[in-house]
Amino acid sequence: MDLYVPILVLAVLAGGFAIFSVAIAPFTGPKRWNRAKLDAYECGIEPTPQPVGGGRFPLKYMITAMLFIVFDIEIIFLYPWAVSFAPLKNDAGSVLSSGLGVFALVEMLLFIVTVLVAYAYVWRRKGLDWD
Amino acid sequence: MSPWLPILMAVPVLGAIVVALLPKGSDKLAKQVTLLVSLVVLALTLVVAVQFKTGGPRFQFQAVYDWIPSFGVKFGVGVDGIALVLIALSAVLVPIVVLASWHDADGTQSADGTLITPKRSVKTYFSLLLVLEAMMIGVFAATDIFLFYVFFEAMLIPMYFMIGSYGGAQRSYAAVKFLLYSLFGGLLMLVAVIALYVVAGKNTFMFPELVGAIQDPTTQKWLFGGFFIAFAIKAPLWPVHTWLPDAAAQAPAGAAVLLVGVLDKVGTFGMLRFCLELFPDAAKAFTMPIVVLAVISIIYGAIVAIGQTDMKRLIAYTSISHFGFIVMGVFAMSQVSQSGAALYMVNHGFATGALFLAAGFLIARRGSPHIADYGGVQKVTPLLAGFFLIAGLAGLSLPGLSSFVSEFMVMIGTYSSSAFGSGALAVAAIVSALAVILAAVYILWMVQRAMNGPTAESVKAFKDLNVREIVVLAPLIALIIGFGFFPKPLLDVINPTVTQTLVNVKVDNPAIAEKGAGQ
């Protein structure tokens, strides 16, 4: 647990700084009220009011998000595999634990092949083309 | 292992398939084929009947094949006396019905040209008829309870369709009512059957082996209940009789004959064979309430019948009354009464059959089942009126006609059944005697209203019976009169079985047995 104490400390520092500066901003600055200033900036034209909860946006972003999820999961699987893949050696060079070895390699290969299939499908169906 | 009974069942099935496969438009051919097949069956049945040894073992012509070993279900058939006569009954009735309902399917027109029943598929009708016959034979012949149950339920379907698509205005309502009643009873029976199998633990459904398998009285009572309700619904016993009038009234005459004449017998038959022999103690325990029910339905049926304006409904109610007699006879547990009951099953088949058919012909001429629409028929069509009268008299069991014998036996048997609580039984017998008078009332009143009196306009155009119709009615009347004077052959066949039954039920009172035999 106490591994995280320092992080907490740093977080407190950074957070303190950030909040402070956000909080102080209104007081340091002058106040010259001007209607136009308070409008959303749209190159000078009358701002189109955005609906609460953000406007509608291209579905594309959502697809990207989904793809990200898929591949992120893949990474989730890759990390432990990679870490425990190598045989562990101490400084003297003697083997502490022989790595997962060939079996793991083959497994991961198959896994990646499977992912690649989905990947190819998405690609082919223009899931990856932006425009 | 005698092949007779399987053949007996196979023939109509094959016939049905043939009929069903006939090319379109060959209606007449279909009818002829059906008639032929049913006659063949009749012939075979007679052969079997002749070979039946009266003194022989209880079940003859036994044939047992494995069907579903893992359930311990066998395809086991074999007939004892009662089953035999009932099979004979159905075998006799079917060809008659075929003839009788020659035109039922192809749209009947009333005198004034209004369409009574629209045109329907003739082939379907007759193949259904044959299937039904096969199943009737099967249900009586089955010695494997499971098989019995299968036929018992499967029988509903063809009858359901016959009523449902060939019946009168209310047909679909009647059909559904009929099906659901019977199905419900059947399912209860299914539970009982399974339970019987499980409890007996003999890994078989064969009737003879299961006799006396259940000793524990409570279990017996439950299982008895299961079976009895099914049968009570089947042989409409008050208060679960209400489907019968609808079904019988809506069914085409032929179907109605089979329904009342044969199907319902399955109920009483089942009571006699299964309820009694499998669960003797329970049967004894329940005798009183059941007899009471029987008496109620005797009287109730008779009284309600009097009030009917619709011929078919009237006849249906009369048969409810008659079934009351049969049930009473069965549960009076004396040689005489049971023989009487068994005999009654047959006779009632003939009598009611004749009555239904006569009424059917009458209705076919006028198109209306209401008694009020007729009057003075006998002046126009003496023959029809005559047959109608005789059938009606058979219905009220006039001495000299077959049903008299049986009814008399039932009453005597019940009256003198010293089996137990005899006093009560005697009372029951006496009360039921009232029904005879009531019967006279409703039959004669109907006849009088329909046949005598001033001739109604609509009746004037009637034609008398044609040859086909005579051929239909004559044998029935002949049988009625014949067995009326000479019931012995039937009784000879029936008695040993009844004795056996009583032995299984463990009530045997030789004295009455003597008397019963002496009748």
Binding site: L67, V83, P87, G101, V102, R124 | -
Partner: protein
């Protein structure tokens, strides 16, 4: 083998500091970062202007050293605009959310070996975790929330789009980045930064000759990919699409016109750049270790406080590289950006990882370290399939899509041609191009003053 390994901190050395040491270290780190930002900005502007033959900031202080200080103060003193439409809470929270994780991401950066700090022997690194690198990635991801929220809360189409874009971009490059680390883990066998640095001390022996120790040499492709991703992740030119002023004004920070909030955002982005460089150093460039030649003749180079120097040097150099790139490369198009991330980096990465893994396996099997008997042929086959497959997909699809695009373009052009031949074809009122006065024929001068 380098004998100084003894001073290398391992995971075991962390979480032991007394609280005050921790606080001191935290404060030191914080201060260091603030300074880095102040002078980083100045440094960048100076360098880039030099590259462009300009002077850059030279007013405030000597060489304009105080330029960014002045900027900060100015920002503090400007009016704090608070647009009417914004979602107040989130609008305020966004910058904070952006900054904090950026700071935290630094906490796992190793600056040096065990040193003696006020009599306490402690590693020169705020903290190290078993999942340090993951922690770094996580922080990077969290700060994306800041961006998205900033864009979303300030209800303006530009901001919204900017936020989404940056989200999509960061997300896409995060994958490639994560994959590029896998190679490192394959070798280091751990996620803790300090141990990764340690494992870069020597690359172990392969067939007698000592292998190069820095992973940049060993895993060049991974490193290159990482560099790409670093730019994408930190949204630096050429990948600074989120605030591509060309298309969407200020991107997600459009509504943060100018005040300390804006300053925070700027800080956040700079910090990301720094984190990226620090990670590059830690994972690929041997961390705080002295570069090869030095260690050759000076054994003490990796002890005590010296490594801090090496680290800082490397740090500055990497930053210079970043600036250099900014100075020399144009901004890419968004679709180019995405397709680079998805269609090039990922498959190449996968292929590379598998290649590395296979080689490693072969190595172990040769050295008999992995308890494995039997032929490697099948493994090889599968590996080859994967690699070829990955690259094949990449090659084929890219060409196919390329062809498709070109075809479409050709179509459009053809249509355009046709339209220009037949001006009214498009249904637009196109003025005929040869109107007289365009050619000055019969051009009549209208003297001024007449009407």
């Amino acid at each position: 083998m380098i004998p100084v390994l003894a001073t290398d901190p391992t995971l075991a050395d962390f979480g032991k500091d007394p609280l005050w040491i921790t606080i001191i270290k935290a404060v030191m780190l914080f201060a260091f970062l603030m300074l880095c930002i102040l002078f980083g900005v100045w440094f960048e502007r100076k360098l880039i202007s030099r590259m462009q033959n300009r002077f850059g900031p030279n007013r405030a202080g000597k060489f304009g050293l105080l330029q960014s200080v002045a900027d900060g103060i100015k920002m503090g003193l400007k009016e704090d605009l608070f647009p009417r439409t914004v979602d107040k809470v989130l609008y305020l929270m966004a910058p904070v959310i952006m900054v904090i994780p950026a700071f935290l991401a630094f906490s796992i950066t190793p600056f040096g070996p065990m040193v003696n700090l006020f009599g306490v022997r402690t590693p020169l690194q705020l903290v190290d975790l078993p999942v340090a690198v993951l922690f770094m990635l996580a922080m990077g991801a969290i700060s994306v929330y800041g961006v998205v929220l900033a864009g979303w809360s300030s209800r303006s189409p530009y901001a919204l789009l900017g936020g989404l874009r940056s989200a999509a971009q960061v997300v896409s490059y995060e994958i490639a980045m994560g994959l590029s680390f896998v190679g490192v883990f394959l070798f280091a066998g751990t996620l803790s930064t300090s141990e990764i640095v340690k494992s870069q001390a020597s690359g172990g022996m392969l067939g007698g000759l000592s292998m190069p120790s820095w992973y940049v040499v060993l895993l060049l492709p991974s490193f290159l990919i990482y560099v790409f991703c670093a730019f994408g992740e930190a949204a630096r030119i050429p990948f600074d699409l989120p605030e591509g002023e060309g298309e969407l004004v200020g991107g997600f920070q459009t509504e943060y016109s100018s005040s300390l909030k804006f300053a925070l955002i700027m800080m956040g982005e700079y910090l990301h750049t720094f984190v990226a460089s620090a990670m590059a150093i830690t994972l690929f460039l041997g961390g705080w270790r002295a570069p090869f030649p030095i260690t050759a003749f000076w054994a003490g180079a990796n002890e005590g406080w010296w490594p801090l120097l090496w680290f800082f040097v490397k740090f500055v150099l990497v930053f210079c590289f970043v600036v250099w790139v900014r100075a020399s490369l144009p901004r890419v198009r968004y679709d180019q950006l995405m397709s680079l991330g998805w269609k090039v980096l990922i498959p190449v990465n996968l292929a590379w990882i598998m290649l590395v893994a296979t080689i490693r396996t072969v190595m172990y099997v040769k050295n008999g370290e992995a308890g494995f008997q039997g032929s490697l042929a099948p493994v090889m086959v599968v590996a080859v399939i994967v690699i070829v497959g990955a690259l094949g997909i990449w090659a084929r699809f890219d060409t196919v899509n390329q062809r498709r695009k070109e075809a479409r373009k050709a179509e459009v052009e053809a249509e355009f041609e046709e339209l220009s031949d037949e001006p009214t074809a498009g249904g637009f009122p196109v003025p005929p191009l040869d109107l007289p006065h365009y050619h000055g024929v019969q051009h009549k001068e209208i003297p001024s003053g007449t009407n």
